[in-house]
């Protein structure tokens, strides 16, 4: 029973990682950029959510506000920071992304204070159910449902809609996509919007789960997200999702059994380094 509980907690954490890593892998697939600043949009979404909720909106409208702000801020990051650097060597965008993340995190600290904000009223935090002997609170259930719905919606979008086909064409061959009338820049803006909306909703949910929104809540997730997309085989969406869930579970077990020798947050990187030694292309990447 204890192990079942660890598994559940791990899968829920993994679902949250999946929402973050999906955006990272989308952007890597499109631009070959390691979008570390993705975590700043996660934190931005969380702050938008907690401020809107504490201003009297319900939790659901507050989450919608957060998603909308994420959807606007993400493309702005692309236009202001990444687009001017596309023709530079990859380390240039990487360093700019790191700079942006630490500057924004410090900005959050200066604007909203170092100790973080809590939800005045967080009914999801206190309500929950016993299912098969495992206690699940409403936030955890919401994370699982949101992850499944948003990832299903994304899959439908990329396979069945015109914009989705244009997106996949741009990932595969931007020049060819252009000759078919797809504007790569619009596809990129769209991708940043989708990825950032996912990050924002993940931020709100984690804010609710911990009942705390703090300036650096995104940083560990930013770095772990990169470990996950590497494990999944960079740019490989199904691989990324599996890697996210695996990491969530590995952490929840590791925290219990490895606590004496290793910090929880180091487990992701231990897994990453061990896997890369055996399979340098990642768990699900193609060799070569």
């Amino acid at each position: 029973m204890f192990h079942l509980e660890l598994l559940t907690v791990g899968l829920i954490q993994g679902a949250m990682y999946a929402m973050m890593a999906l955006g990272l892998t989308l952007i890597y697939g499109l631009l070959r950029i390691l979008h570390i600043a993705h975590a700043a949009l996660f934190t931005l979404g969380a702050y938008a959510g907690v401020l809107a909720a504490n201003a009297g909106l319900g939790l659901l409208p507050a989450a919608i506000v957060a998603v909308a702000i994420g959807g606007i801020a993400g493309p702005l990051v692309y236009l202001a920071i990444y687009r001017p650097l596309l023709d530079k060597p990859p380390y240039v965008a990487l360093i700019a992304a790191i700079g942006l993340l630490i500057a924004l995190e410090d900005g959050f600290r200066l604007v909203f204070g170092p100790y973080g904000l809590s939800f005045d009223n967080n009914p999801w935090f206190i309500s929950g159910w016993m299912i098969g002997g495992i206690y699940l609170n409403a936030v955890q259930a919401a994370i699982a449902v949101t992850a499944i719905v948003s990832i299903a919606a994304f899959t439908w979008f990329s396979r069945r809609t015109r914009a989705g086909v244009a997106w996949r064409a741009t990932v595969t061959d931007p020049a060819m996509a252009r000759t078919f009338g797809v504007e790569p820049d619009r596809v990129r803006i769209l991708s940043f919007a989708i990825a950032s909306m996912l990050a924002a909703v993940a931020g709100v949910l984690i804010g609710l789960l911990n009942n705390l929104v703090e300036p650096t809540m995104g940083s560990i997730i930013a770095y772990k997200g990169l470990a996950i997309i590497v494990l999944g085989g960079l740019g490989n969406v199904p691989g990324t999702l599996v890697a996210a869930l695996l990491l969530g579970v590995a952490e929840s077990f590791g925290q219990t059994y490895l606590d004496q020798i290793l910090d929880r947050d180091a487990i992701a990187f231990l897994v990453l380094i061990v896997v890369l030694m055996v399979r340098p292309q990642g768990l699900f990447g193609k060799a070569g």
Binding site: R32, K88, Y91, L100, A103, L234, D263, L270, L276, M277
Partner: protein, 277 residues
């Protein structure tokens, strides 16, 4: 000299040595490392443990540098197996692993760290030693730049495939850069441990790696004098302007973004462009 000024000069020297040693790996050889603080920390911890248990400073000093270089060799060997994009993430992972491991080790002091590390000489002596380390590192970089080793590094940084097809053993060059650069960070760590006399895991966290990288890129990645200027400026900035200390990460982060957007070659690159006009 004022004690505060003296200790400041030591910390400036330590940061210059760190930035120069990272410049060898990331600037000369083009391998972006996001985990330099792990090697800095290895030097600090190994030497602190030795000194606390009674070893002479000379032994601690050499052991700290060698231990960091050995870890650098292992990480370099591992990084040879992965693609270029993965290297940044692997080195970042090494940093998180280092801190996550040290934090849980009772014999390394855990969260509290190691205290009462004996000071081997006066502050003035430590400052002299620190600046000797800086001079030695800078001279080493100048010598490398002028040698066949430096030519190899440049070729790898510019186009790894071309370097391979010209018959260069790319792996060996990268390993050489890693070992020398990380050993340099280890020596800087030894000095830090014996000046501060107290070390904690967080002093070698990822933020420190990023700060070192910020010094390198603001000064001008690949340039020797540029990186020295960058490290001195970014170390003194939070000290000179008290208000800047509160905004340190905001300023470092914003500088990294602005420099990448305006002049990816940093200050040195900007100077070069002005001269070329």
């Amino acid at each position: 000299m004022d004690a505060y000024i003296l200790s400041l000069t030591i910390f400036v020297a330590i940061n210059v040595a760190l930035a120069l040693s990272l410049n060898l790996i990331s600037g000369f050889c083009g391998q972006i490392s996001l985990g330099h603080a792990a090697f800095y920390g290895t030097g600090a911890y190994v030497s602190a443990i030795l000194s606390v248990s009674g070893a002479p400073f000379a032994v601690s000093f050499v052991a700290g540098g060698i231990a960091a270089g050995i870890l650098g060799f292992v990480v370099g060997l591992a990084s040879l197996r992965v693609r270029e994009d993965f290297l940044a993430i692997t080195t970042m992972g090494v940093n998180f692993l280092f801190v996550g491991f040290v934090r849980k080790q009772g014999w390394l002091g855990g969260e509290i760290g190691i205290s009462s590390i004996p000071k081997p000489m006066s502050d003035a002596g430590m400052a002299t030693l620190a600046w000797i380390l800086v001079a030695a590192t800078a001279l080493l970089l100048v010598a490398i730049r002028r040698s066949w080793l430096g030519t190899g590094f440049t070729m790898i940084a510019q186009d790894e495939q071309a370097a391979t097809s010209l018959g260069l053993n790319v792996g060996r060059f990268k390993l050489a850069a890693f070992v020398m650069g990380t050993a340099g960070a280890g020596f800087a760590g030894v000095l830090y441990a014996h000046v501060a006399q107290l070390i904690v895991p967080d002093a070698f966290g990822f933020v420190v790696s990023i700060s070192i990288l910020a010094m390198v890129v603001v000064g001008g990645i690949g340039s020797i004098y540029g990186v020295i200027v960058g490290a001195v400026l970014l170390t003194l900035l939070p000290e000179l302007a008290r208000f800047a200390n509160d905004y340190k990460l905001l300023i470092f982060g914003a500088l990294m973004v602005v420099v990448m957007l305006i002049s990816p070659g940093g200050l040195a690159g900007a100077v070069q462009r002005l001269r070329a006009r």
